[in-house]
Symmetry: D2
Subunit: 158 residues, 4 copies
């Protein structure tokens, strides 16, 4: 693992300077008593639960399609996160999502987590969804409704 | 994010060819009904729970120190995972840990997940713990007992 | 555990006819992708996570005291839930809390879960917190700030 | 569901005197770093995850049927737990299951949790599964393979 490994996409500025405005969508989520671990802060695995939640809720909402009932499943091929600041229950958290790249069968996202009371990014994640067939588990193209919703989000930036 | 980002440390072979023997320690863990998500396989966030569990349990056991009661806390500065194959409850999983680098205040680990019935790696993770002071939350050196236990593990390979 | 324990408090009507108005406090919480289990609905253990979250967040807010830093810990001595209807991510959920009884060292709550789009109760829980000393783990009286906050809630009903 | 349902079965002695021998099946499970909450012990919701896991794993194993692929789903109609002693990661836990009653469409279980190093029961749970049709969500009879497996367990006691 070199220090390059979690480098944010080149079109983004220094990661610690990111704000909600660099992302396509922001969702406020509530935290839970059990999210805090023995060290009194949100456990790192919870960050990934929140990324998963924000991506899927946004794709469902933006595409108008309940992704859980499609024949294609978006499964995680790769994920990662850099943690800059602690987050704690009972404070809500904002999860920000940005579409980085839509390939033939994969979509890459960047994610930012913000304490709801702060403008500083607490964590920066990346996430690669690969679409597979629910039955054969083989790779398939990104579903059209999802592709179109993500394209609209990318266009809305310009 | 380029395809280099999650590159396994240079001393490791192609990640999909990794076996349990490439790691310093392997722990068998049980899976849970709730680990399977709507897609019928272990949710990706569970992988990180298992990494966290395996690293901490091993450090506790190898160092003879209950890390949860130390004045220094090992908190996650960065983590990541590439997912190669699905895992499912009710099958147990083997979590393999390898110490990659021990710095002044940080430790980098590689992690492998294996279906207990298979020799093929199902996921490859990386993990950076940074030690902070429980009260001030400032960076501190890796605790001596942890450093020594990790050095013993690295020496045992040779 | 006597057979009385799971019976809805006598001052409450038939449990399935309960509405948000029968409770002292209602908090809206977001659900997560991982909350849905293989059967496509919120896993039953998540209900208890939401009960725990709603009780503690309300006690923190109503008492003005961060209960996680008190010398007394409110730990669960007993809990239970009857499940009437399925709940699903991505829909938010309302968690309703009612103080049933404040004893010397214990507090009993009733809890209702509601789909945010519905007036029908989806689940009815009960919960007994017993206060113990953080160090000795022996039973101690309910902390004064908590007792006063709960008394105010009960008085506000009249 | 009547108020009788949560009463400990009459054939069982005082709950705190229960040992593993009072149950039909015992499974050892590993605990996780995230199972411990801010108070340094297994969070109460984890107990329900372990109950769910032990019941389903045992039914799958004893019936020879992967219950997750049946047209009938066993969903939780009621659950409850009394907590007698704290449990902590990193120690494994034994989850003990006993079939209390098999009705037309429901099954009632008692559950015991034991620290793997102790003979004293740390928690006693009860659990009611009701079988519903995966599509219509209406109540259906307990699947034959499940009913037979549970009957065999009850007979093996005599």
């Amino acid at each position: 693992m070199t220090s390059d490994d979690a480098r944010p996409p080149s079109e983004l500025p220094d990661p610690r300077s990111l704000t909600r405005e660099h992302f396509d969508h922001v969702a406020r989520v509530t935290t839970r008593w059990t999210d805090n671990d023995m060290y009194g802060h949100l456990n790192n695995a919870v960050y990934y639960e929140l990324f998963d939640t924000a991506i899927n809720a946004w794709v469902i909402s933006a595409s108008g399609v309940d992704v859980t009932s499609l024949p294609e499943l978006g499964v995680v091929a790769e994920s990662g996160c850099r943690f800059f600041a602690e987050l704690e229950f009972p404070h809500p958290v904002d999860v920000a999502v940005r579409v980085e790249r839509v390939g033939r069968s994969s979509v890459t996202y960047s994610l930012g987590l913000f304490d709801s009371r702060s403008s500083m990014v607490a964590a920066l994640g990346h996430w690669v969804h690969v679409y597979i067939d629910r039955t054969t588990r083989g790779t398939v193209p990104v579903p059209a409704a999802v592709r179109e919703a993500l394209a609209r989000a990318q266009e809305a930036r310009a």
